[in-house]
Symmetry: C2
Subunit: 576 residues, 2 copies
């Protein structure tokens, strides 16, 4: 720290249009700071933010002189002007020293060259500056290689185009801004060393994946593959292309026994798309959408985590669990066109919980209860599609008894729903206790029995709330409903599970409504097999890390077109 009474001197150099690897600049900065009399040093590309940072560290004059993001700025703060100038004189030597630092083996300068030296590589690691990254990635895809795209500052349009291209060819684009992945036991980018095991990770971003992988390891288990998708994969514009590819691949990977999804909350439509895809898998899936309103602890094979550590904990619980999913009692799923669920609730909060739980899976879902992503029911006395009705809502009870006292409205509505040939499952609650009807099951059993006696009728699932001390008798009520032919559950969660088992397989709207079927090829599981073989374009540290993990890797001595001078590059392109 400099005592305030020692005035110090700042000197700087600008090198226009000079491109340098960020690692090189960091080493330069650090070497300058070590020189005699130097208090602090900075070597950065002259973006607005970088210059502001230099200024905040008293490394720049105020006002800041004009400079562009393609200019290299080097500033030194020293005790005397002589020491500052002396330090700046060292720049070339320090940069040159760095340049001779390689091991001397010949390196290709292009992907084309790399393909001759290491033709078996299935992956290309790209960490060149954002404005060049999409071009390199496109080239890699054209050469039919998977891309690990570490670079950030790639446009959303480029990302969408690259990912669609990759999907059509059965390839992955992990990223852009993909900090980390673990493929076949090899860490790409930032990665913690963990043992291999049955936990597969799919993560939008970097440190979320690292935190979960580290905890899985600390708990004694390991990672099969960890697939980074980049932070924007779950944006509506991208539509989770990479996440859905990864889900599909990990579902087919025999080594992976549980899959974890890690992300900031996606847009509701994208969340629904992912959750529907995940709910169709036979493996348990831990959903760690941080800040996403949870549809419950569990929904079929989906387990919802509240924080990063819990993602790992739930994955291990899934591995340890020998519980079988709730049986549907041997009842055959109703046949088409019976497709819809109708929920009839006397309890508002039960209706709301059912709504939250089913909202991501049953689309569109309508209700007379308001909730984001739920269609309002214009006429609460008429259902359509998937529908949850709160029979106790004010608009249905003015001048009437609450449906928990008078199950008549519920009974009539049950008949109405059962008469609809599109209804597959009717979910109802039955709440016991003081003030509730003295024998609600008795008011319903004839209607239920009549419905169940009809051929190809909808299934009826009852969620009963009560205790064995309640005046109506919990076991008697449940038994009467069961005898009438309903599937009867204590509490709502098991009832929701039962409904999901009874509904016909959902065809997702995006599959049926797409105007033209997209050419889509499944990624090849072999591309995930370790040890990884890869080409590296950009930061050398990504190359060094693979060497340290005894993977096969070839560094490409990439330089930006025209040395990073974009006007010149454009001119050259025009000429060629």
């Amino acid at each position: 720290m400099t005592a305030p009474d020692t005035p110090s001197v700042v000197r700087h150099r600008v090198r226009s249009g000079a491109y340098h690897d960020s690692i090189v600049l960091m080493r330069l900065q650090s070497s300058l700071a070590d020189l005699d009399g130097v208090e602090d040093a900075g070597a950065v590309m002259a973006t607005d933010t970088n210059l502001a940072l230099l200024r905040a560290n008293r490394l720049l004059p105020d006002p800041i002189p004009k400079a562009g993001p393609e200019d290299l700025w080097i500033a030194v703060r020293a005790e005397t002007a002589e020491q500052a100038e002396a330090a700046l004189e060292e720049i070339d030597a320090l940069l040159a020293h760095r340049n001779s630092d390689t091991d001397g083996s010949w390196r290709p300068r292009s992907l084309r060259g790399a393909s001759r030296l290491l033709p078996g590589a299935r992956w290309v690691l790209i960490s060149v500056p954002g404005r060049f990254a999409a071009g390199v990635a496109r080239q890699a895809l054209d050469m039919h290689r998977n891309v690990f795209l570490y670079s950030d500052n790639v446009s959303l349009d480029d990302e969408r185009e690259l990912k669609r291209l990759a999907r059509d060819r059965g390839l992955f684009v992990l990223g852009p801004d993909c900090g980390t992945a673990m493929i076949g036991g090899t860490g790409l980018g930032f990665a913690n060393r963990t043992r291999r095991g049955p936990v597969g990770l799919i993560a939008a971003s970097g440190t979320g994946l690292q935190a979960v992988a580290s905890r899985v390891h600390a708990l004694g288990e390991g990672i099969s593959h960890a697939i980074g998708t980049g932070g924007r994969d779950l944006h509506r514009e991208i539509g989770a292309i990479t996440t859905l590819q990864a889900l599909d691949l990990l579902a087919r990977d025999s080594f992976t026994r549980v899959i974890c999804l890690i992300s900031k909350p996606p847009s509701p439509e994208v969340a629904a798309k992912i959750l529907r895809a995940a709910s169709r898998l036979e493996k348990p899936v831990v959903v760690g959408f941080l800040g996403y309103p949870s549809p419950g602890r569990r929904l079929g094979n989906l387990h919802f985590a509240r924080d990063l550590e819990e993602i790992a904990d739930l994955a291990l619980e899934c591995l340890a669990s020998t519980a079988t999913p709730p049986s549907d009692g041997g009842a055959a799923r109703p046949s088409y066109p019976r497709a819809y669920l109708r929920g009839l609730f006397s309890g508002g909060t039960l209706a709301y919980e059912a709504l939250l739980s089913l909202r991501p899976l049953l689309l569109p879902l309508a209700s007379n209860l308001g909730a984001d992503g739920v269609e309002p029911l214009d006429d609460p006395t008429r259902s359509s599609g998937h529908c949850i009705v709160d029979l106790g809502a004010d608009e249905l009870t003015v001048g009437r008894l609450h449906p928990m006292m008078d199950p008549d409205a519920a009974k009539r509505r049950l008949e109405q729903e059962a008469a609809d040939p599109e209804v597959a499952v009717i979910l109802m609650d039955l709440v016991l206790g003081d003030v509730a009807h003295e024998n609600p099951a008795a008011t319903l059993v004839d209607t239920i029995a009549a419905i169940c006696d009809r051929p190809d009728s909808p299934r009826i699932v009852l969620a009963v709330i009560g205790t064995e001390q309640d005046p109506q008798g919990l076991e008697q009520q449940m038994e009467a409903l069961r005898e009438a032919g309903a599937q009867v559950c204590l509490g709502l969660r098991d009832a929701i599970d039962a409904c999901l088992h009874l509904l016909p397989e959902q065809t997702s709207p995006e599959q049926t409504s797409s105007s033209a079927p997209e050419a889509e090829k499944q990624p090849d599981p072999k591309d995930l097999e370790g040890p990884i073989s890869a080409w590296n374009v950009g930061l050398e540290s990504l190359h060094d890390s693979l060497v340290g993990q005894t993977s096969e890797v070839l560094h490409v001595e990439w330089r930006p077109p025209a040395g990073g001078n974009e006007r010149l590059a454009a001119l050259l392109k025009k000429l060629s």
Copy 2:
């Protein structure tokens, strides 16, 4: 069911301005339906919805004749016109039969009368129609009684006025639309029979409370008190008046060992207000805001549930847990004016999780990461107030290395934050693994030690992510940071806990900023002691239920002013 080839006949009667208890109407309807030749019957107040329901059940002509919500409609569908007319002739006899059904003992017709007969009652149960309910409740509060307000269709303005009045007098208004409560072992309204125990419930609505109470009982534990607040208590306009009163009272109740909050998601401001109040209690609080984005599994004494059943499960876990809250290592909390937390993160997802976790408790919270309810940081290089900075965000890394490779930016920012005299705690992450800096702790220890050596310096908390196989050495990194004076945690959750322990007690903005201190009286714990003594105004079934629970209850033979004819009532009021 009627076969479609048997035409049936519908006949109806209208009784203008007639008021009848809904229970009476339900019994009338059921008795009519039992008569010879009658297929179906309806007896309802002629609201639009009721008439639509009658029509849906083929009990009304189409178009529906003009009628108002104060008119009683009675309709019968029978096989022949004679049978229908014969049934309608029975109406008076059936209603009269009902009228002689009481036990004959004299009943007061007003609260004033009730106060002479049962002066010790501390509660008034009100279930008269919504348009009369606020008046009766106001009268009860004026007589210094707590109100259980079962009625719905009470205006938001009336609710706010009633609740403020109650709060000023140290009384409760549970409701409006409060379906259920359990006070001192007595169920009010809809309630399941459960054993008494150490679990206290506060619920906005009815069946949520019942579902949780039933499950607590099923798991072998019991309920101390269950306080229903009405579905709108957490609306911004009401501001959780009753919920905050209930929290305060259950915190002081020695029998209650864990408190559960059950609700649909409140508005973000109200959620923050409740969570801040709850976080200051010494008892564990299970937060069951269905559909609320969870700030994590646990935050200090707050435990977040994902569904109704989990609320009960977490309550029991809290009772069983002997875990002590994480110690702050004996470090004294920094003194004022050091009040703020600054989070400096190289990992974006870690920053985001910290943001989500702290958002409800530290208000206002700023960040360069976007999230609902978080203030944007205009200049990401400058912090103010409580602040979480993602140092790896694009705007801070253009042309620079990621801060996990180059901890220089983090070190400089740490110095900057430590120099701010308003900062109490600085939270940082440190991520190990391949490609990350080879010894990040070493780059930070001198700075940390220098800060910690200063008198009255801010505390520094490190969240370390990594495994013991990582090249940097997990234990060595943690030990070096610890020796420098930081509090070091493996993973983010413990680090967040540590920060909450180190921050000075938060004074909530609503307490400091309120222009005039509100007259507020704490409710009297004696009002919760069983057995309950109450007056009942409205539905007789609420009275009968208390009798069945051997509580002291007096039914008031309330009739609406002018027999429910509002024009006449207004006229009478003018004359009086």
